[in-house]
Symmetry: C2
Subunit: 112 residues, 2 copies
């Protein structure tokens, strides 16, 4: 009985908690935000995300790629060109981020 | 310069990250969900949130009250009646939770 109950609770919590988890990484939201306006190269992202180290950016991009949120395309040029874009799974996060941002702005953060 | 940059980044992240934080507690989402349909008494919540201990429920309710997400009203009856409801700050979380749930259901959780 207890097993069934905690299973039901987990089922109900899971989607919200997992989404919160995906969006909790410091740079994740900003990367998705940048890619929501179109395909970007590595150094465009690096310039936009002021303060991020190339190592951290690489790691975040790889992890978002593994989660299926962004896709990476390499072009055989010299020097090689690498472009990043949102997948459908990534684009679907944009309205979620917007609703969380609106809530946070209204209720949780200073409007400085 | 670095200070300014990290301040800008924090400002951009803050609202989303703080909202994710508010919603990350295990029972929070379910309590808000229950109260979204109207005022509830303590034991109604306890029955609805199968598996929660009275102690945990008290703690969660107190913490949500401190965050201004729910309000608590006591009636001088015998036995005393205590009712909980969402504040405006609490109601505003419902669409956020819904968008996160929809995303999570579509992309992150099994549809069992």
């Amino acid at each position: 009985m207890e097993l069934i109950e905690s299973h039901l609770i987990d089922k109900s919590i899971c989607p919200v908690a997992r989404t919160a988890q995906v969006l909790s990484g410091k740079w994740t939201i900003l990367i998705i935000r940048d890619l929501a306006t179109g395909v970007k190269r590595f150094n465009q992202l690096e310039r936009s995300l002021q303060g991020i180290s190339p190592k951290t950016l690489s790691e975040r991009l790889r992890s978002l790629e593994e989660e299926g949120i962004i896709s990476r395309r390499t072009f055989a040029e010299a020097p090689p060109r690498v472009e990043y874009s949102l997948t459908e799974k990534g684009y679907d996060l944009v309205p979620v981020i917007d609703s969380m941002r609106n809530y946070g702005k209204k209720w949780l953060c200073d409007d400085k």
